[in-house]
Symmetry: C2
Subunit: 291 residues, 2 copies
DNA sequence: TATTTTTTCTGACTTTTGTCAATCAAATGA
DNA sequence: TCATTTGATTGACAAAAGTCAGAAAAAATA
C-alpha cells in the first residue's frame, strides 16, 4: 500500500471522526448521556431482545441492566419476559419512548440533511458515501429471496432499466422486452434474489422458470457503489443454488455486447455461448450453463 | 432533501461510526485511556502549544493539565515554558514518547491499510473518500502562498499536466508550452497559491509576472474531489488580491476549448475574450480582465 | 429429578471524563 | 507602577462508563 493512499485514508478518517463527534454532541442536547441514548436508539430500530442489544452495543450485562432500568424509570421503555424463553427479556418503547426516539431520529436526519445541503452537488457526494459504506461493510452483505413485487426489488429494477436506457444506443423500453410474469420469478417456478447491505439493496438477480426444459437468468444487476467487489459472483452462485433446489438442470441467459463487462463476466464464469434462442429485440449475445 | 438521500447518508454514518469505534478499541490495546492517547497523538503531530491542543481536542484546562502531567509521569513528554510568553507552555515528545507515538501511528496505518486492501479497486475507494473528506471539511480550506518548488505545488502541477494529457486529443507536453520560470511566479513578480485542506493540496493557481504590461494567470487547477464546490472562485479571488497587492492592473490567461468548464467559468467570472496574444501551441481561447 | 448452564439483576467497586472555583505567575495596559 | 487579564495548575467534586462476583430464575441436560 502506498504512503499516499494511507495518508488519504487517514485524512478521510479524521474528517468523519469530527462529524461523528458532532452528532454525538447533538444527542447530548436531549439531557441524556450517550449510553441510554444508544440503547433507546437500538430499541427504536426494532432490536427488542435485550441480549441482542447487549451484543450489538458491546455492553456489560450489569451496565445494560442499569441503563434499561433508567429508561424504564423515565417511562420510555417497558421490559417483558420473552414468550419462548422467560429468562430472555424484550424491551419495547412506550408512547413517550417513541416520541423521544423520534426526536433523536430528527437530530440524525437534520445532521444528514446539513451535510448534503452544504454540498453544491449532493448526488456526487451520495454516490461517494455509498461507495465507502459498501466498501466498509461489504462482508455483511446478505442475499435473500424476495417476491419481485418487493419495493426494494422494484427499485433495483427501475435503476437497472434506466442504466440500460443510457447504455443502449437506441434506448431501452422494458415493455418491448419479454417482461417475465411475476409468478415465473417466484417459487416454485423461479426466484428473485436481492443482495442487501445495511438495509440498502445493492444488487439483484432473477431466475425465471419456463416450460422449455431450461430456466432463464434475468435482471442481474449490481449497484455502481458495489461493482468490482465480486457481488455478481455471489449472486450467480445463489441463483445456481436456487435453480438446483428447484430441480432445474439447465440455465440460459441473454445479454448485449453494449455491456462488455457482463459478457466478459459470463464467459469466465463457466457459461458457454450459444446461438440466439429467443426473438427479444435487445440481446445479441446468448449463453447456457449446465448445473 | 429526499428521504432516500437522508437514508443513504445515515447508512454511511453508521458504516464509518463502527470503523471509528474499531480504531478507538485498537488504541485502547496500548494500555492507555483514549484521553492521554489523543493528547500524545496531537503532540506527535506537531501541535506543541498546550492551549492549541486544548482548543483542538476541546478539553477543559484542568483536565488537559492532568492528562499532560500523566504523560510526563510516564516519561513520554516534557513540558517547557514558551520563549515568547512564559505563561504558555510547549509540550514535546521524549524519545520514549516518540516510540509510543510511532506505535499509535502504526495502528492507524494498519487500519487504513486494512480498509484499502480488502477492497479490490482501492483507487475508486480513495477517490470516494477524498470527495467525502473534502465535502465534510471544505470550510476549513486555506489558501496560502508557496514557492512553485514546494512539493505539494509540484504534485498539483503533475496531476494537472496528466489530466491535460488525457483531455487534449494530441496529448500534452509541458515543455512545448511556455513553461514559466519559477521566479516569475514568486514575489515580487508574481505568486503561486495553493488551496490546502487537512494537509492535502486540493487546488492551485499561478500568477506569472511579465514585462508586457500585464500578468498572466496560469496553472489553475482544482482536484477532482473538490470540483463544483466553488474553489476556483476562491482561488481566482485570491489571485486577483495578490495581483492588486503587486500593483498589477491587467490580467490575461489562455485556455483550451477542450476544457469547456474552464471556458465557461472565465466567461461568467468577468473575463473578456480577446484575440490570441501568444504563440503557445496548446491554447485556443484567450481572456483578459482589468482589476 | 437433580445438576448444569444461561440470562438477567444487584451491589460494590474502579476508572475515565468532565466541571468549577481558587490560586499563582506572567503579560498587558492604564 | 499597579490593577487587570490570561494561561496553567490544583483541589474537590460529580457524572458516566466499565468491571466483577454473587444471587435468582428459567431452561437445558444428564
Amino acid at each position: 500500500m502506498t504512503i499516499d493512499a494511507i495518508a488519504r485514508t487517514r485524512r478521510f478518517h479524521r474528517a468523519v471522526t469530527s462529524e461523528v463527534g458532532a452528532l454525538d454532541s447533538s444527542f447530548l442536547g436531549r439531557g441524556r448521556p450517550l449510553g441510554p441514548a444508544r440503547v433507546l436508539h437500538a430499541i427504536g430500530n426494532g432490536v427488542s431482545d435485550v441480549a441482542e442489544i447487549r451484543a450489538h452495543l458491546k455492553l456489560d450485562s450489569g451496565l445494560m441492566s442499569r441503563l434499561l432500568r433508567g429508561l424504564e424509570d423515565e417511562g420510555l421503555v417497558t421490559v417483558t419476559a420473552s414468550d419462548s424463553d422467560a429468562r430472555r427479556r424484550q424491551a419495547q418503547l412506550t408512547p413517550a419512548g417513541k416520541t423521544e426516539f423520534a426526536a433523536y431520529e430528527a437530530l440524525s436526519d437534520a445532521q444528514a440533511g446539513a451535510i448534503l445541503s452544504r454540498h453544491p452537488h449532493p448526488e456526487a457526494l451520495l454516490q461517494a458515501m455509498d461507495l465507502v459504506a459498501t466498501a466498509l461493510g461489504f462482508d455483511r452483505t446478505a442475499i435473500q429471496r424476495v417476491p419481485p413485487s418487493d419495493p426494494r426489488a422494484q427499485h433495483c429494477l427501475a435503476t437497472y432499466y434506466a442504466e440500460l436506457a443510457e447504455r443502449f444506443s437506441g434506448g431501452f423500453d422494458v415493455n418491448l422486452s419479454a417482461d417475465p410474469e411475476a409468478r415465473d420469478m417466484e417459487p416454485p417456478r423461479g426466484a428473485f434474489l436481492l443482495a442487501v447491505l445495511d438495509g440498502l439493496a445493492i444488487g439483484c438477480a432473477g431466475l425465471k422458470g419456463t416450460d422449455k426444459g431450461y430456466a432463464e437468468v434475468k435482471r442481474v444487476w449490481v449497484a455502481p457503489s458495489a461493482r468490482r467487489m465480486g457481488l455478481a459472483d455471489l449472486l450467480m452462485q445463489a441463483i445456481e443454488d436456487e435453480a438446483r433446489g428447484l430441480g432445474i438442470r439447465t440455465l440460459r441467459l441473454d445479454t448485449n455486447s453494449a455491456l462488455p463487462e457482463a459478457v466478459r463476466f459470463y464467459r469466465k464464469s463457466g457459461w458457454r455461448e450459444i446461438p440466439r434462442f429467443n426473438d427479444d429485440p435487445y440481446p445479441d449475445v446468448f449463453f447456457e450453463k449446465h448445473l
